[in-house]
């Protein structure tokens, strides 16, 4: 029997560490001989903590939402080859609730995540690891590798969607004594964690992709630029680089060939703009991470003015699979114009939140209601936010839009790197627009005036609207400023910062009008426009609300109707949550 515990950062946050300890303790107490292994994230974050059992008769069951108390029973039942199924979520052998969830996905970049131990290079090697690299450096020349990647139609998964093969070709064609390969792991979009999932779960697949790229363009040195907010990803990556170096997969004369490559990690220091490639390069060079005008593109003059290829984590994670399985297999997934799959971080008010991978071109509706399992609460769907602070909110009537660069762009949002936040009617669209603008405003590097000052003016207007002090002409001003910022900013941050505002005005104009004209927040989010009162007919005087109120704004004695003092109330909503009789009303 074998047990694998999912110990990625979300699993750990959900208590997987305690589960691992409980299993270890039980096994040693009872002196049971079972292989206990670690793995990362299978993507079903909604069911964490998770562990997987393979019984002696070869059956495989994944358990979810487990507690340390469940451990002995589950282990005992599996030892008898009669596994308990109560908490089973996934299994190829039994009927489990999430079987369909995984079946409706196609996993290329997440092929190993949640299955192998990311800290053990042997497990990667056993799963065809570094075979693509060996094939490339021993049997192919540079042009052949680039042709395969070009023919595969792989497009950059960071959001821009540029042909990866073409990008490599440009870097290859620019002759130089020194070239660099960079992996952009500065996944800064709030609500996106695809790259984290890949780095924590299968770091070698990214390294292998970078090595193949380095061979193809003729580079001998590379950097992974990783967000400092991902300590576990950095740790797994460091271990992976050290192990690969020890095995002669990184370093001088790799696998006995003339090809040599050194790989370093650069940890970011907290600047969203460094996800932009020229800013990222400036940051590796030790400068303030401010973007530069392109051209020259990094393929010509990048890191330390040398030809540089920069792709993101997910793009590199596709490479080895494409080399091993071929262009035709890859093109079986997705669309002609956009082949392959895409990983998404599905979050917000969705039932099955987590990390998923579906073919390009899958309709949004299928992602949300199929793999995602639909809405988590009984509130109806309102919008799905794609592309983070650079993206937009897509409403219900556009849910048949296929997930693919051009179609998403037409809605006014952007495809982005893969963050997908689902919102229900409890989410205020004006507040969301303000939330993202506040983010980009903070993260604007300050180089371009319109991005620096324009976003500030837009934010001031939104701050006014959410407290009921907006004017109808504000909407025109917002739209005018938005277009000016888009037209006059140098980099993607400024060019896309107004998108959340523009899409919400486009699709949810009514909500803006409700804030401005009626001084009302239909979703009940904007606190300045809210008022909590107590329904005298429903209040039984249980005092639960008064005891919860942090500012003693609720008056009343036991078994009598309570009253909220509006002057003292800070609108924290504690009473609303505390009342079991629906007597506290939010208006």
């Amino acid at each position: 029997m074998e047990i694998k515990v999912g110990l990625a950062s979300c699993g750990l946050a959900a208590g997987a560490g305690e589960i691992y300890d409980a299993i270890q303790k039980y096994l040693s107490e009872k002196d049971i001989d079972v292989a206990l292994k670690k793995t990362a994230c299978i993507g079903m974050c909604f069911a964490e903590p998770i562990f997987e059992v393979t019984t002696d008769d070869g059956k495989n069951i994944t358990y979810g939402r487990v507690t340390p108390e469940d451990v002995p029973q589950i282990i005992d039942s599996c030892l008898k080859n009669e596994p308990l199924l109560e908490k089973a979520i996934l299994s190829p052998d039994f009927d489990c609730p999430e079987n369909e969830n995984l079946r409706s996905q196609n996993r290329i970049v997440l092929r190993n995540a949640g299955h192998i131990d990311p800290e053990n290079i042997d497990e990667y090697l056993e799963n065809d690891g570094y075979k693509a690299l060996e094939k490339v450096i021993k049997t192919m020349n540079q042009e052949e590798v680039i042709k395969v990647i070009k023919d595969s139609g792989l497009r950059g998964r960071g959001g821009a969607g540029f042909s990866t093969g073409l990008k490599w070709q440009f870097a290859f064609q620019n002759a130089s004594d020194k070239k660099y390969v960079i992996c952009n792991a500065d996944e800064g979009d709030p609500g996106a964690f695809m790259d984290k999932g890949i780095l924590e779960g299968d770091p070698h697949s990214v390294i292998e992709g970078m090595l193949i790229c380095a061979f193809a363009i003729g580079a001998d040195e590379g950097y992974v630029y990783c967000r400092a907010e991902y300590p576990l990803a950095v740790r797994h990556l460091k271990k992976a680089i050290a192990d690969a170096t020890e095995r002669g997969i990184i370093g001088k004369n790799i696998m006995g060939t003339d090809f040599s490559f050194d790989l370093h990690i650069k940890q970011g220091a907290g600047a969203f703009v460094c996800g932009e490639e020229t800013a990222l390069i400036a940051s590796i060079e030790g400068k303030r991470g401010m973007p530069n005008l392109r051209p020259p593109f990094p393929a010509k003059s990048g890191l330390w003015a040398k030809p540089t290829n920069n792709n993101n984590v997910e793009t590199y994670a596709n490479i080895a699979w494409i080399i091993l399985n071929g262009v035709e297999e890859f093109r079986k997934f997705g669309l002609d114009t956009c082949p392959g799959t895409k990983a998404f971080a599905l979050t917000g008010k969705i039932r099955n939140s987590g990390l998923i991978e579906v073919p390009m071109g899958t309709p949004l509706r299928k992602v949300i209601y199929g793999v995602g399992g639909g809405m988590r609460f009984d509130k109806p769907f309102k919008a799905v936010q794609l592309g983070g602070p650079s993206g937009g909110c897509i409403p219900e009537h556009l849910l048949d839009t296929p997930v693919e660069y051009e179609s998403i762009m037409k809605t006014g949002a952007i495809f982005g790197s893969g963050g997908m936040v689902v919102m229900d009617t409890d989410t205020c669209m004006v507040d969301i627009a303000r939330f993202f603008l506040n983010f980009t405003q903070n993260e604007s590097c300050g180089k371009c005036t319109f991005c620096r000052v324009g976003t500030k003016r837009m934010l001031e207007i939104l701050n006014r609207i959410v407290i009921g002090e907006g004017k109808m002409e504000d909407l025109d001003t917002l739209e005018k400023l938005a277009h000016q910022i888009i037209d006059t900013s140098l980099c993607g941050l400024g060019k896309s910062a107004p998108n959340p505002v523009l899409t919400t005005i486009k699709y949810f104009r009514d909500e803006y009008i409700a804030h401005i004209v009626d001084k009302r927040c239909p979703a009940g989010v904007c606190t300045a426009l809210l008022k909590y009162t107590i329904d005298a007919a429903k209040c039984i005087g249980c005092t639960a609300c008064a005891r919860k109120c942090p500012v003693d704004a609720i008056n009343g004695i036991v078994k009598q109707v309570h009253v909220i003092d509006q002057d003292k109330c800070i609108k924290c909503g504690a009473c609303y949550e505390a009342c079991r009789f629906d007597a506290v009303i939010k208006v």
Partner: protein, 152 residues
């Protein structure tokens, strides 16, 4: 200067290397907890990196701190998923628990520093906070106190 030896060693490790400013300052900050004005001058003198470049980098990136910080860093996630799941309430709860006002980020006993962070990538467990290197999810205003008590 208190940590002269350690800082000299860090300077020696990075001196003359291209692109050293950020990792050098990160290591110095690890030693001192934050970047003191006098330390930045000292590093500039020792490494030959212009003080303007050091200060420019230190003020550009949010991970660099110019003020002393507490023993434990609490990062309350303000990402999208956390925002729609009540991150603001969690932030206020932590603030309340630590008796911090809006313009304070470190407790008077220098035990905790409270900061906001854009996204910790644990969106499925929203709302989330990170204390030092541990991530805690599915927070409620009531649960944050119990979690913080574990960090002495």
């Amino acid at each position: 200067m208190d940590n002269k030896e350690k800082i000299d060693a860090i300077i020696a490790k990075y001196k003359g290397k291209p692109g050293a400013t950020i990792p050098l300052l990160q290591e110095v900050q690890e030693v001192e907890g934050y970047l003191k004005r006098e330390t930045m001058s000292y590093v500039s003198g020792g490494s030959g990196i212009k003080i303007a470049d050091i200060y420019g980098v230190a003020t550009f990136y949010s991970m660099f701190r110019l003020k002393p910080q507490g023993r434990h860093i609490i990062r309350v996630c303000k990402g999208t998923a956390c925002h729609v799941s009540g991150a603001q309430t969690i932030f206020h709860a932590v603030q309340g628990y630590l008796n911090l006002t809006d313009d304070q980020d470190t407790t008077e006993d220098a035990k905790y520093t409270l900061v906001e962070v854009a996204c910790l990538g644990c969106c499925s467990l929203a709302p989330v906070m990170m204390v030092d290197e541990d991530t805690h999810g599915k927070l409620t205003p009531d649960s944050v106190g119990k979690i913080l008590d574990r960090y002495k």
